[in-house]
Subunit: 347 residues, 2 copies
């Protein structure tokens, strides 16, 4: 499923908040609408956010031209709004910056749209490559554990962690994929389970807290997750809970593999300590489908991400290489040779 | 709050499935009703289950006498039903066995009730002692993380982990208690948060997966949890998720303390590998407040407990001693000097 695309009217995206109950595609005509969808997580996932940032800038350019507004002022405003909509996700800013840079280099509206579309196409290609590379690394693993949704729904197509899962599945049907439900927003049970069910992959949903017991009990061959940002030293910021799985995988002696495109590697971030962690609304923890689950006076703390130290990361698999953070240099990311659309955040 | 008690009519217990929305006390008149309440987790927690087992046997004895039925046959039947209602919880069987043994030694119905009431009283006293001992061990810790509910609601009064928290709080108000919500049944946010709010303790509810990030981020001084069973080598079975917290505490260099009565130590169980793990219904994972959260074809796996290896346990605090599993002998448990109601599972 192509979760995010460009059309004559604007940006077309699947509303992930409606899944798995219904497949609803939204047509986004204004940047403010896109910002709202990014914040509500209707569109989410590191790579999709990168492409969304670029397409959002293209949208701003097209609308400014139609309305006869100043192009540079419109792009500046859109860049600020889009970059601030999710502070932890580095890809969002990269997508925005790719289009902004093209404009600084003199591109017109049509060329800005081309830059955004090139990012979309590079994303699809990169995700396929990540899957093949990850499957090569994990050949023989038949029981995989994953967290959150690093699937097609987190990108434009294919995904990262689930691209690895699907590549393994094509070689030989997997015994089981353990899908961590991923509280508080349940992307695992809502999105990943939906993708695996759609793809005919044998899977079991578990609560996040059950992962460690399964790993130490010998029930898991490998953990594969995505990443929201990878620091220059190999520390990985990903959905809250990833760190627990890395600790358990380390203790169990099984690989903890991070599947992510090169541009998730942020050479400008020295280590995990420099990655800002987004704290989201308390109500995501304290309510479910609008109903309060705790006592009325209790408060919550809701970090959306955590940081896995590099020494717990067996490998980072990108579309261009397999990095072993314990021994390999992680940053800078390798430039993508085929397109100007994807490039390292620090040239 | 006294969560479980004996009255002229039968067993009185607070329905924990109604909390935190309402305080409803149930009057249980038959063993089958008690079994149903144990299985639905209306009554839960290692210690409460021990007392519930004993009171259930007392109830069977009283009813058999009233109906002119054979006392031993009624007790045998009740023992089987009660012991099988939650296979992982060792205390349940201990409570049952205490009354059964008294009968084998010739006790009449009134004496059997006395044995059960002595267990209740010993439980209350033990929990207070556990709290004081734990607070002594953790003096100076102001930011505590706990999982599930090892509070008054898990015992008859006071609890274990929360007895430690309340003892620390009496010395000096705590900065914060991080309450893991404890999926799938949310005992943390429903019960522990309710107890802490009631006790005026500053607290924040977090998703289970957020605990590791807080610990490695330096936000937690100590982890305190209860236990469902402690093997002779110090391995600890507790609510699923405890293992993750122990791994994170170990990495963060903070204490992981298990607060539990002596009779949770099962000398008959050599190590964690010998502890049967209860797998509960898939629907607990796949539904939330009665609503399906995943795709209709997806299945779940729902282990209720996990096992924390002894080397990750900083200390086990009981009513009688502070055990450091790395260096101290854990089993056999110390006999309780004050009562015949609480005793080690293997004499």
């Amino acid at each position: 499923v192509r979760t995010l695309d460009w059309s004559a009217c604007g940006i077309r995206l699947i509303d992930q908040n409606r899944l798995p109950d219904e497949e609803l595609f939204l047509m986004v005509r204004e940047v403010d609408e896109l910002v709202a969808h990014i914040q509500s997580l209707a569109v989410r996932g590191a790579m999709a956010l990168g492409v969304a940032g670029a397409l959002g800038m293209a949208l701003a350019a097209v609308r400014a031209k139609e309305r006869g507004e100043d192009l540079d002022a419109a792009l500046d405003e859109a860049a600020t709004k889009l970059s601030n909509s999710r502070p932890t996700a580095v890809n969002l800013s990269i997508g925005v910056e790719n289009v902004a840079r093209a404009r600084r280099e003199g591109a017109g509206v049509a060329e800005l749209v081309e830059v955004a579309l090139a990012m979309r196409d590079a994303d699809i290609e990169a995700n396929l490559a990540i899957g093949l590379r990850g499957a090569e690394l994990l050949r023989g693993a038949r029981r995989i554990l994953t967290h959150c949704n690093a699937g097609a729904l987190a990108g434009v197509e294919h995904g990262t962690a689930l691209s690895v899962v699907m590549a393994l599945q094509r070689e030989q049907p997997l015994d089981v994929v353990y899908v961590c439900e991923t509280r508080p927003l349940l992307q695992g049970v809502r999105l990943t389970a939906w993708e695996l069910a759609r793809g005919g992959v044998e899977h079991r949903v578990i609560v996040d807290a059950a992962a460690a017991g399964l790993m130490l009990g010998g029930e898991v061959d490998a953990v594969v997750v995505g990443a929201d940002r990878i620091a220059a030293n190999g520390d990985v910021a990903n959905k809250v809970g990833s760190l627990s799985h890395a600790l358990a995988a380390h203790r169990a002696g099984i690989p903890f593999v991070v599947a992510a495109p090169e541009d998730t590697i942020d050479a400008g971030t020295a280590s995990g300590a420099d990655i800002p962690i987004e704290y989201r609304s308390e109500s995501e923890v304290l309510t479910f489908e609008g109903r309060e689950i705790g006592p009325p006076k209790s408060k919550a703390l809701n970090p959306a991400f955590d940081v896995t130290p590099a020494d717990l990361v067996t490998a980072v698999v990108t579309q261009r290489r397999t990095i072993l953070p314990a021994t390999d240099q992680v940053a800078p990311a390798l430039p993508h040779p085929d397109t100007t659309g994807v490039c390292p955040s620090t040239p």
